[in-house]
Each structure stands twice: as C-alpha cells, then as structure tokens.
C-alpha cells in the first residue's frame, strides 16, 4: 500500500534524513521513533506531499494520503459538527453517523470550537480522520494532550476501524499506543552534516 524507497528529505535546504526505505502493507501501521529533531515531522510532511523530497520514491495510491499534526485546523467560530461537516464536504464524503460517539464528542456537538479544551480539540482533529475517508494516514504526534482514556479511544478506532478496513497509518509518537505495529527508529538514517552538498532550496 505504502512504499518508500531511499527517500532523502530536507528541512530549510539541509538534508535531515537519508535513504529512508520501508514498506507498509494494507491494514498495517508503522510507528516512527527517534529523538526530538531527528526529522519525524519532516518525513511525514514529505510523505504527505507538503514538501518536496530531495530524492527517492514515495508510492501510495493517489489522493489517498491525509496528514494530521498538532495543528488541527479547527475553526473556533464553528461548532464541532460544522467543523467535521466541512471536512466531509471538502472530501466529498458523507458524515458517518457514529463518528461523534467514536471519539466521545456527542455531548459537545453544538459547542463552538473555541470553547473546547486542548484535549477535546485534539479529539475533534482526530475525528476528522474518520470523516475524510482517506486510506493512508500520516500522523504527527496524534496523542498530544489526550488523556489515557482518549488515547485508548483513538487506538481502538485506528485498529478496529481504519486498519481493519485495509487502511495504513504512519505514526510519529513517543508513547505506547498499544497497537500491534512494527517500529522504525529513524536514528540510523540521520543525514551526515554535509549531505546534499548545500541545496539552495531554502532560497527557491
């Protein structure tokens, strides 16, 4: 489903990760590990197509990738339902009836985004993933500011709904999600300091 072959990604013109290769089969998740600054976010943004790679191949079905980071894209002046409905409409997908229950948002459905707590916002941001119907998810620290119960809620959705339906997820996280998924430590892929010979990408 997702195949990455000797990918080199850059940040600010300098290579941060070199020759990253992995495969994720349908219904599988991959956990990215590595210390702060190793390039987990850069890798995920490159995979999602938000920034170009220096070299290498990223292969997954077109128009199936979705990216989620700590910025949830929640509009403070819209209600929880309106926020979700917007993303469903943009992706041309129907709004699943049970999505609010799945992420424990039923009681909040008519609350404005601006009045939610950090954890509730995070749950709403993750619920977006259940709405847009994309198969390949790139998740950057999805569990930040979630309590233990919500982490379980999210892991259950990921395992029983997304992965069970043949989806794929690449997750950068520092905690144990309780998923049965292989881990990839990014430390060995760290680029040498002079790698890439000083690209001028930062100036382009």
């Amino acid at each position: 489903m997702l195949e990455v072959i000797s990918l080199t990604c850059t940040r600010g013109g300098a290579a941060v990760l070199e020759n990253v290769s992995f495969k994720v089969a349908a219904g599988q998740a991959l956990i990215l590990r590595g210390p702060n600054g190793i390039g987990k976010t850069t890798l995920l943004r490159t995979l999602a197509g938000l920034q170009p790679s220096q070299s290498g191949v990223v292969d997954y079905p077109e128009d199936e990738g979705a990216y989620a980071s700590h910025a949830d894209g929640i509009k403070t002046a819209l209600t929880v339902t309106e926020n979700l409905r917007f993303w469903a409409d943009v992706h041309g997908a129907p709004l699943p009836d049970d999505i609010l229950e799945t992420f424990d948002l039923s009681d909040l459905r008519d609350r404005l985004g601006g009045t939610l707590s950090a954890g509730q916002k995070r749950r709403l941001g993750l619920a977006r993933l259940g709405v847009i119907g994309r198969k390949v998810l790139f998740l950057d620290e999805p569990t930040v500011s979630l309590d233990r119960f919500s982490v379980k809620l999210f892991a259950d959705w990921l395992q029983n709904t997304h992965l069970a339906a043949g989806g794929v997820a690449v997750i950068a996280t520092h905690i144990d999600l309780g998923l049965d998924a292989p881990e990839l430590d990014l430390t060995p892929f760290k680029a040498a300091d002079d790698a890439g010979g000083g690209s001028d990408e930062a100036f382009l």
Binding site: A48, Y67, G73, K75
Partner: protein, 218 residues
C-alpha cells in the same frame, strides 16, 4: 469548493470584523472627507469619484491579511493542501469569499455615500458598475499578495507594499470611468480595460497563488 465558500462566509459573519470592518472604514473615510475639504459642493463633486475609489480600495486592503493567515495558523491550510480540492480552486474561492464580504457591500453602499460627496447624478450608474467590475480584481490581486506573505509575522505592511502598486491600474480606470460618467462622456473604454484586468487576474492569479502557497507551506 462550495463547502469552502460557505465556511468562509459563515466565519466572516460569526467572527465579526469580516463583513463590518471594510464597510465601516469606507463609511468613515467618505464621511470625513467633506469635513477635511470644506463645504464646497463644487469641489467635492469633482473629487468624489477619486475619493470613493481610493476609499473602497483601502477598505478592501484592510481585510486582506486575514484571507490566508488564520487558516495558516490553525493548520487548515496544510490540510486543505492535502485534500482533493485543488489549491488553485481554493485560491479562487478565497478571493470570491473576500469579495462577497468586502467588495460587494462596498459596491452596494457606494451610491449612498456618493450622495454625501454630492456626486453628479449622471455618475451613480457608472459608480455602481465600475465598482462591481473592479472590486473582484482587488480581491483576487489581494489574495495573491496574502499568499505571498502568509508565513510572515506582521506581514501586513509588506502585503500593502506589494499589493498597492498592483491596484493602481484598477484605481485609474475605475475612477476614470466614474469621472467620465459624471462629465457626460462615454466611459466604455475605461470600463472595458478594467473588466480586462479583472478577467485577467481571475484567469492567471489563482495559479500563481497556489504555487506561492505550496512554497510557503514547506
């Protein structure tokens, strides 16, 4: 695309500022000018086309930096970029939403304010038509400028510097059309040139805007 348009309009109404700000600014400028210039209706009616056009241009400028900045800050822009909606379409919709929240109200309010500046009676129709044709170009050019400065903090000043020179042709032809209308001359030429600017900016700038957004999202 319609979903994005409806969302932007809903946000503009709910968050306040969007709809009212430009209009209030326009009103204030136009109301203040007679106090500054003095009570000579002859002079006022001669400068009215220019004042009305400059005021609507500045009013449109006022809300430009909100077009992409809010979506950039809360991450929606990155999510939109990975959605099936082409960024070119998103850019056009953003410009359209900006026009509906600023250009359209300005156009509709302008005749009433022309009265305050004792605009010549023959010019009202041309004022309405020129604003209707010209303000979409202001929104589209402004959207491009907003995309250029989206990642910058306090990009407002740079945005004005970038966008104002690009507004000059629209301003010249717009004010000229109204002035010719007031003098009883044929304003068709000026209106056609302005329509050309609007059509051209809507044809080309969505692509430029999308390209710039992709770079700024890196």
């Amino acid at each position: 695309m319609i979903a994005l348009l409806l969302r932007d309009l809903r946000l503009a109404i709910r968050a306040g500022g969007g709809f009212g700000l430009g209009l209030a600014f326009f009103l204030i400028v136009v109301v203040l000018v007679p106090f500054g210039v003095g009570p000579e209706t002859e002079l006022l009616s001669r400068i009215a086309p220019g004042i009305l056009w400059v005021a609507s241009l500045l009013a449109a400028l006022l809300s430009l930096d909100r077009i992409f900045a809010l979506d950039y800050e809360d991450g929606s822009l990155a999510l939109l970029a990975t959605s099936p909606l082409p960024l070119e379409g998103a850019a056009m919709v953003k410009a359209l939403a900006h026009w509906i929240t600023t250009g359209l109200p300005l156009t509709l309010a302008a005749p009433a304010l022309g009265f305050l500046l004792s605009l010549a009676p023959e010019a009202y129709a041309y004022l309405l038509i020129s604003l209707l044709i010209g303000t979409p170009a202001l929104s589209m050019i402004g959207t491009f400028g907003a995309a250029l400065t989206v990642g910058l903090r306090r990009g407002g000043l740079l945005l004005s510097l970038l966008v104002l020179p690009l507004y000059v042709p629209t301003l010249i032809f717009g004010a000229e059309a109204v002035r010719r209308g007031a003098d009883g001359l044929d304003p068709t030429g000026a209106l056609m040139l302005m329509a050309g600017i609007t059509a051209g900016s809507f044809a080309l700038l969505p692509f430029a805007t999308a390209a710039v957004l992709r770079i700024n999202l890196r």
